[in-house]
C-alpha cells in the first residue's frame, strides 16, 4: 500500500487573511479493526491509520487520533483559519509506521 494517493480538496485556493478554509480529504485504506476473523477462524491483525495531522506552512492547525471505529477509506473534513501562504500538508500514520502524505497549497492575500 505504498502508492496510496490521498484525494485532497480545499474549498478555495486563495483566501483573505482570517478567512476560514475548508479541507476535505479522502484516503484509500482498509482500516482493519483487528476484531474480524477470516473464514478459517484466525483473527485478522489490526491495521489502521491511527494518526492524522494537517500543517499549513509548517504550523499544525488540526490533528486527530483515530481508533478502529473510523470507517474504511477514512474521510475527514475540517477547517482552518488562513494566516499565511504556504503548503498545506496532510499526513496519515499507519500502525506499521508508514506514512501517507498529501499536499496542496493556499495563497493568502
Amino acid at each position: 500500500m505504498a502508492e496510496v494517493k490521498p484525494r485532497i480538496k480545499l474549498d478555495k485556493k486563495q483566501a483573505k487573511k482570517g478567512d476560514l478554509v475548508e479541507v476535505k480529504a479522502l484516503v484509500a485504506h482498509v482500516m482493519e479493526t483487528g476484531l474480524r476473523k477470516d473464514p478459517s477462524g484466525n483473527t485478522i491483525p489490526r491495521k489502521i491509520l491511527n494518526k492524522f495531522t494537517c500543517t499549513v506552512n509548517g504550523k499544525q492547525v488540526f490533528s486527530a487520533d483515530f481508533e478502529p471505529a473510523i470507517s474504511a477509506n477514512p474521510y475527514i473534513q475540517f477547517k482552518f483559519r488562513a494566516e499565511e501562504s504556504g503548503p498545506v500538508v496532510l499526513t496519515w500514520i499507519d500502525d506499521d509506521g508508514s506514512k501517507i502524505v498529501g499536499e496542496d497549497s493556499i495563497t493568502v492575500t
Partner: protein
Amino acid sequence: MPLTLNRRRILTIGAAALSAAAWGGATSPARAAKNDSEELIKKFTGGKAATEGRVRLDLPEIAENGNTVPMTVSVESPMTEQSYVSEVLVVADGNPRGGIATFHFSPASGLAEVNTRIRLAATQQVIAVAKMNDGSFFTASRPVKVTIGGCGG
C-alpha cells in the same frame, strides 16, 4: 386567586410539561456501559464533570449501514488565543471498543468543526466530550439506530 383553566392555559401547561420531559431526557441519557467508553471519558476529563451543551453532534437518527455513518462534531467557541477548544473525544457505548477518535484543535483551526465517517456495531449512544483551554468540559450525546452493524459482526 381562583384557578381558571381555559383552553390557552391548558395548552401552555402541556407545552411546558413536554419541554421539561424532553430536557430531562437529554440531560440524563441512560448510559449503560457496555464497553470501556466510560473509562475513556473519565481518563479524558480527569474525573471532572462535563456540562451538557456547546457541543453539537450531528448523526443520522437511523443508520442503515453501520460500516460508514457520517458524523459531524462542532463546538461553540470563539477559537481565539484566550478561549478555544483544545480537544474533542468521541466515544460510542455499544461498540466492541469505546473509542472512536480524538480531535485536536488550536486557535489556528478557526472553527472547531470536523466531519468524518465512523463504524457503529449496533444501536447505541454516541458521546462527544470537548475540552476547553481553560480546563472546562462540555458534552453532548446522540442515540443512533443501526440497521446493519459495522465492525464485521
